[in-house]
């Protein structure tokens, strides 16, 4: 039954965002693995639409935060305002109190504002004026980032990038998809008409299923061999952290669930590898900087299956 639900969800999303099956599948995997997603791409390729569609089809509340350089943490997590009638401070929750948050252009904001969001992502709760408030369940952040070479950006440090389970690129659509997009109806309209396929309770059940997908000892060995290789290879500044290994396994599990399997195959690991490593590994030689897929392919071909 869950397989049918997932197929229907993927079909709905693919109907609106054309020619992007793989990034969409990755985004959904990231959500199923209870992680947060970082999309790095140029404006206008459909990042917002993707976030919107995901929230809509999964029956989740949606908020968008546009990050700017003058943004303060209170703009994200909320603020307490003195209420004259009750003669007390009253907390006004910020836009982060929702189920799907689209954090647009996160690298435009100062590190102070960035860290407010990143802490909420990690802890799944917000502490303001000495009081801890839990965020809703499920909680899913899709952050977008402009390519770092653009002017006026504050690049996220590695430690904070590590908190994103997955980093994907959407890229321009292929000609056929683009023609279909131009010829079709308004995407905003389509999103508004979209009916939720599942409710948050069912989504949590799906997330639980993803966590119980079997990973055989041979597969665990493979993931361990991959992380060990990145630590020993001189090609990168620092190897993958244990958290990266856990992330890899979690996303691979969700990917296997999407494929309708109850166990993880090496193919699942390899499919999600670019998204897991591209924001975590930094080449020593800047000139050798390549796109995520090439970097993942280099790693895959260097590590034999155990």
């Amino acid at each position: 039954m869950q397989a049918l639900q997932l197929e229907a969800i993927l079909a709905d999303i693919n109907r609106i965002i054309l020619g992007k099956e793989r990034p969409i599948r990755l985004a959904l995997s990231c959500l199923l693995a209870r992680g947060h997603l970082l999309i790095e791409d140029l404006p206008g390729v459909g990042k917002t639409t993707l976030a919107h569609v995901l929230a809509r089809v999964l029956g989740l509340e949606f908020q968008r935060i546009q990050f700017t350089s003058d943004m303060l943490p209170a703009d994200i997590i909320g603020v307490s305002i003195f209420d004259r009638d009750s003669a007390s401070f009253h907390f006004h929750p910020g836009p982060v109190f929702t189920q799907v948050v689209l954090a647009d252009e996160i690298n435009r904001a100062t590190p102070k504002a960035q860290s407010a969001l990143l802490e909420a992502m990690e802890e799944r709760q917000v502490t303001a004026e000495g009081k801890t408030r839990p965020l809703p369940e499920p909680f899913f952040v899709i952050a977008t980032q402009n390519p770092t070479h653009q002017i006026g950006t504050f690049p996220l440090p590695e430690s904070q990038l590590d908190r994103f389970l997955l980093r994907i690129e959407l890229g321009y659509p292929d000609p056929a998809a683009e023609r279909a997009l131009l010829a079709g109806t308004d995407r905003r309209q389509m999103v508004a008409e979209l009916a939720p396929r599942i409710d948050p309770i069912q989504l949590i059940a799906l997330q639980r299923s993803a966590a119980t997908i079997h990973a055989a000892p041979a597969l665990i060995d493979y993931i361990q061999a991959l992380t060990a290789y990145t630590r020993a290879a001189p090609r990168w500044h620092a190897g993958l952290s244990p958290r990266a290994g856990l992330s890899l396994l979690a996303v691979a599990r969700a990917w296997a669930l999407l494929a309708g399997r109850d166990h993880v195959l090496p193919e699942d690991v390899q499919a999600v590898l670019p998204g897991v490593i591209s924001h975590r590994l930094r080449p020593v030689d800047d000139a050798a900087r390549t796109d995520a897929d090439t970097m993942a392919a280099q790693l895959i071909e260097a590590v034999p299956l155990p």
């Binding site: 000892p217 041979a218 597969l219 166990h263 993880v264 390899q270 299956l305």
Partner: protein, 650 residues
């Protein structure tokens, strides 16, 4: 539902039936035919029940059958205790237990019963074939025990697992065998409750009785000499001494009134040796003449015949010393000498006349009479043969003067008769002469066809002197063996023949194996154990230190095995091995598997390159992926994978 109450599946029933058959069939010769047939009927009924899936017979019927079977055993043996009735009773119970296989509890008790019946085989025979048969039964029984807990794997996998488990148990078995504190006495030395027919010398000797033995190549005993092996012509293995003669047969008279030590003083050089005596059902212990010491629990009769306190019904091992130059019986009692002169009142007039003549000529000069008798035997040109003609009333006369053909019993009987008639005390000694060194293990093997009879003559100042009248006419019997002495063409057991060298070589090897089994497995007693431990540098260990050694060694073996198993597990996953076999096959077709490539990715690529095999490739890849990466996969898929890969021909 508790595991022990799970119903017995169809497959488990088949396993149990196979085990019961394997445990029952080797025992069929030991139980009466009617019981064997009844048990066979029960097995057939069990097979039908399983095959047709009929209902089990009601409980009251089984109770009646148990009562009937028990009373049948009782009426057959007039007892329910003892070896054979006990085993027969257990066979009945096993057969009937199969008819009430309801739950796992019944299956397990059946398996345990089968284990016990395997043990019961050893109460009847302990040969190497029995042991091998028992190993086979144990493998089937253990596989059934495995199947009783999990009947899903195929029989082949079940057996393979069993073999693995038994192989792992083997070091412990050896350790326990070698180090477990031993009890005195043979392990399987159960009292025989039926007189079993064993061949060997009897306590009487009449013409033809030893010739009969010469047709048997069964082993009488084996000897290991501590030093040099004496000359073949000196190997006289003393057995029953027969002084009494009734005109036709010679008899043993003396079995009681034994000496605790030899009643003479050993003289001259001595020979040390160890005898492993096969059971022969009589009391006597064979010893090289003249025995200088006696084995434990034995004594010597007044005619110097070592006898055991109990009849030799199990294989017996004893060490002895012989002193060939001993003078025995110098002060022989008058009663014994009188007995050694007794002859029937009448019969054999010819030899009596000749003896009377000797007596007249030589008076009481025993040496001269002896020489005259030997001279007579030489002059008569007697022929040594396995097929002597039948003799009438006067056996001695007819042999010496008429047929002149005989076997050792004729020679010795006639010789003793002649001397007694001339007034010289003499007696017949039966036993074995010679034997053959097995070049494989260096043991001297004495077989039934080495049975022999010779004589002892009493001469004043010299005591009893051994004279072998056969040697006068057929010296080759003594210096070589029976085959060399008898005329060509006489039927002989093939081991006694000197042709067929390769067959003999083969038999020698087999005999060495049997002997090793007897010496080291069946005859592994506290003494052997002590010797072994001492050779390992442990002096006189008591049972406490033995237990400590045992525990330590078992622990070490367990650790070693665990390490090995863990190592193996990390190293080769059988599914991975199968996959590598598959990729090697494809590599020959130029489709190379990259070590980093996942099975399904590879299957896609390979079936693109070889579209005609796409289906097989995908099936194999799917199975492998399941086996390797899905922990819940049934291991039976492994054989499926292997079969598919074997059948795959790119």
């Amino acid at each position: 539902m508790a595991r022990i109450n799970r119903p017995v599946s169809r497959r488990q029933s088949w396993w149990l039936l196979a085990t019961a058959l394997a445990a029952f069939l080797p025992l069929t010769p030991q139980i009466p035919l009617c019981l064997a047939l009844a048990a066979g009927t029960c097995f057939a009924l069990r097979a039908a029940l399983t095959w047709k899936q009929w209902r089990l017979p009601p409980r009251w019927l089984l109770v009646l059958l148990v009562a009937a079977g028990t009373s049948a055993v009782f009426f057959e043996y007039r007892s329910l205790v003892g070896r054979t009735p006990g085993v027969a009773l257990l066979v009945v119970f096993l057969a009937l237990k199969l008819l009430e296989l309801r739950a796992a509890r019944d299956a397990i008790s059946t398996v345990l019963l089968c284990y016990f019946l395997v043990l019961a085989q050893f109460m009847f025979t302990q040969t190497i074939p029995t042991a091998l048969l028992a190993c086979g039964t144990i493998i089937i029984t253990t596989a059934t025990l495995l199947a009783a807990s999990d009947d899903r794997p195929t029989p082949i996998i079940q057996l393979r697992r069993t073999l693995l488990m038994l192989a792992q148990a083997l070091p412990f078995m050896l350790l326990l065998f070698l180090l477990f504190p031993r009890v005195q006495g043979p392990l399987w030395g159960l009292p025989q409750d039926r007189t079993s027919a064993v061949s060997g010398l009897s306590d009487t000797m009449s013409p033809g009785s030893i010739a009969q033995l010469s047709q048997s190549d069964a082993v009488a005993f084996r000897v290991q000499f501590k030093g040099e092996v004496p000359a073949q012509s000196q190997l006289y293995w003393r057995g029953p001494v027969m002084p009494a003669f009734d005109g036709r047969s010679w008899r043993v008279t003396q079995t009681l009134g034994a000496y605790p030590v030899p009643p003479y003083v050993p003289r001259g050089s001595s020979v040390d040796y160890e005898v492993t005596l096969e059971p022969h059902g009589k009391f006597w212990l064979f010893a090289l003449e003249m025995p200088g010491t006696l084995p434990p629990d034995s004594a010597m009769t007044s005619d110097y015949q070592p006898i055991a306190r109990q009849a030799v019904r199990t294989r017996l091992r004893y060490t002895q010393q012989a002193s060939p130059d001993t003078l025995a019986g110098i002060n022989e009692s008058a009663a014994n000498l009188r007995a050694a002169l007794e002859l029937p009142k009448e019969g054999n007039p010819q030899i009596r006349a000749i003896a009377a003549e000797w007596r007249q000529r030589h008076g009481t000069d025993a040496t001269a009479i002896l020489a005259a008798a030997e001279d007579l035997f030489v002059r008569q040109l007697l022929i040594y043969t396995l097929n002597p003609p039948l003799l009438g009333r006067d056996v001695v006369d007819e042999f010496l003067f008429d047929t002149r053909r005989g076997f050792c019993e004729h020679f010795s009987a006639a010789f003793v008769f002649a001397l007694r008639a001339a007034g010289v005390p003499a007696r017949v000694v039966a036993g074995y002469q010679g034997g053959e060194i097995n070049p494989v293990d260096g043991y001297l093997v004495v077989r039934q066809y080495d049975a022999h009879a010779w004589t002892e003559v009493w001469i004043a100042e010299r005591g009893w002197v051994r004279i072998d009248p056969t040697a006068i006419s057929a010296p080759r019997r003594i210096n070589n063996n029976v085959a060399a002495a008898v005329p060509a063409g006489e039927p002989l057991p093939f081991l006694a023949r000197s042709d067929l060298a390769w067959l003999k070589e083969l038999r020698n090897r087999m005999d060495a194996v049997t002997n090793g089994w007897n010496q080291w497995v069946l005859g592994y007693n506290p003494q052997r154990q002590k010797d072994l431990l001492q050779s390992l540098g442990l002096d006189a260990p008591d049972w406490r230190s033995m237990t400590a050694i045992l525990t330590a060694l078992c622990g070490a073996v367990l650790l070693g095995l665990t390490a090995w198993v863990l190592h193996q597990r990390v190293r080769v996953d059988p599914a991975l091995a199968a996959w590598q076999r598959f990729t090697r096959k494809l590599a020959k077709r130029g489709i190379t598997w990259q070590a980093w490539e996942g099975p399904q990715d590879f299957a896609r690529r390979a079936s693109h390159a070889a579209p005609q095999h796409a289906r097989a490739i995908h099936e194999i890849a799917d199975l492998y992926a399941q086996l390797r990466y899905n922990p819940n996969t049934d291991r039976a898929s492994l054989s499926q994978l292997n079969t598919k890969i074997t059948a795959f021909r790119p």
